[in-house]
Subunit: 69 residues, 12 copies
């Protein structure tokens, strides 16, 4: 596996439902334009509040993927 | 939207169930004394353990709200 | 000056014009409800973009003030 | 409760299902060799991606426990 | 103890004598206006110098307290 | 607004004049290749010195924009 | 001294009296099970409050010790 | 040199041999798709272990390059 | 340019007018005793408040300069 | 690979020769008492100086390994 | 007080007795070569262990002083 | 060894060859004007790129040395 090179992109996914759903939304949308997605790391977890409830979660991720040749 | 001013308060919500429930508990309790809650940011996620299981999650949030005039 | 106690509040000021104006807006609005404001520290500098220009700056500050007795 | 001493171990739990399940897996596995587990703190939340979906969550925790005499 | 909510306030205590005395001063002054103080965390330790000696310590704390209903 | 996904790019703008001008330069140049720019966050503020004056400011930004479908 | 290897353990000491006493308690308890303790580094200083006074200090340390062969 | 704008990309290079070789691999692979590479900054140095030896180094870099017009 | 060595000094500039003026003041004062100033990096932006307005900005910089032989 | 649990230990390796040799020394010494070492992450790189040369490098690592059942 | 410029030096004080004594030692030794010392900020608190007791505290400080003209 | 005081200077060494050579260059140049150099800590590892190869490494160090009396 050595000598491989990966790129890392930052994306922000949102979801009304849960932190995990925001992560999945970020990954599936990014996958439309990035191939070979390999790992993620959560960098920030935020959200917006409406009527004293969570309106939606907003999760920033770094996404790692094998470099396209 | 420019020239608005927001205040930020730090609160810690707890829940036996999930990280999301701890966030909702923090927001709904804070909303009893703070109006115009607008956003949150998770700062720390901790918890207590009882009998080798999560007893409860303890999530620290910064809560942003429009300044009361 | 020893044995004094200070409180620290976090506020977010906004301005269309500059980072300095966002700081002044945060301080003058906070001063309507907090007495004895003494110092500030910039924690984050962000902003929103509209039509490929800065729509407004959004500066998070910690504001220190002598504790009200 | 004073004069007690605690040790802190770092563990990484994984789960296909959720962040909370990864935390519970970490705690229950650590409990096989560590007694008196008392608290945890999430340090990093990562994961691996397979076929453009989360393959599993990978959550790093610090686990605090009373020092064994 | 689950489902409780805590607020966190930042205060700065000062003392000519010691770091511990600055912490106690911050807590006892804050206690005049905040009930149910529960924990603290030291965030910064600074001080001023006069005549090449410590004039006073200046310790920033986060103070946690149960949310007032 | 939920379920939207954003990408985040890091850029560095420079200006002889001011920090704000460096931010505007970064945004307007990035806008030539990125649509839907929505927000920015200042990450580092540096600069070069010539003849004991600021030669130019160099401001690193994260730029957020709606994911292009 | 080169080519030596050290291990680092994290412990939390507590004391009613002072930060230094909490550090000494952590070290003397850890020394019951760890040989060759060599250095420490304070990572966090917290504490609990009872009746508006410090109930006890709680100091997190990293403890370095020569690797047992 | 003022008023230039740079973009910053994050990449992860790997090498069996050394940290420097992992950096060179990251740069030469990134250079296949990015022109005008100008500087790098090491963000994390990790690696994988096989048979109690380093299997390969894994170095995360930020790569700066002049913005393509 | 390789094999050059630089030293880095930390200074704090102040100004009533702006963050940029505080940076220029720091550089021009440091230049009275340091030759070959080459770059700066802003580390903290603070200030003092008087009568609910910014009394002066206080900007901490790291200043890099070629090592004097 | 999901539902596996890993432990993380911190060690400090030293070497007169290079950063890479300090990492290898840390891993091979830790491997005498820890099985299944899987990954490492460099946390700090320091060293001691003797006669104005590096006497030895001192590299702090987190070592991850599969939890022993 | 505006338009003054301060320099910041990093020093490490040691003491067998306490953290406060290590700070005082650092300041009084630095004062032999630096005039106009004005403030300090604790950056790290470490120490060495001998016979399972603190041999001495080692406290890193930033020291601020008015720039010498 | 107690009650000694150390100063810490920040320097940046460069080298075409390796990270270790950049560290050695920083130390040997600093040693021309600083006596009693004792330890170093790597703070940042950067570099410049020319023709898609590392032109030179640029390593920032804190250098500790016994205070000159």
């Amino acid at each position: 596996m050595s000598d491989k090179v990966y790129a890392v992109s930052k994306v922000v996914g949102t979801s009304k439902k849960s932190i995990e759903a925001a992560i999945e939304n970020a990954i599936s949308t990014a996958a439309e334009s990035i191939k070979n997605l390999d790992w993620f790391e959560v960098k920030e977890t935020r959200g917006y509040i409406d009527n004293d409830k969570v309106a939606y979660y907003q999760v920033s991720l770094e996404l790692g993927f094998r470099y396209e040749k």
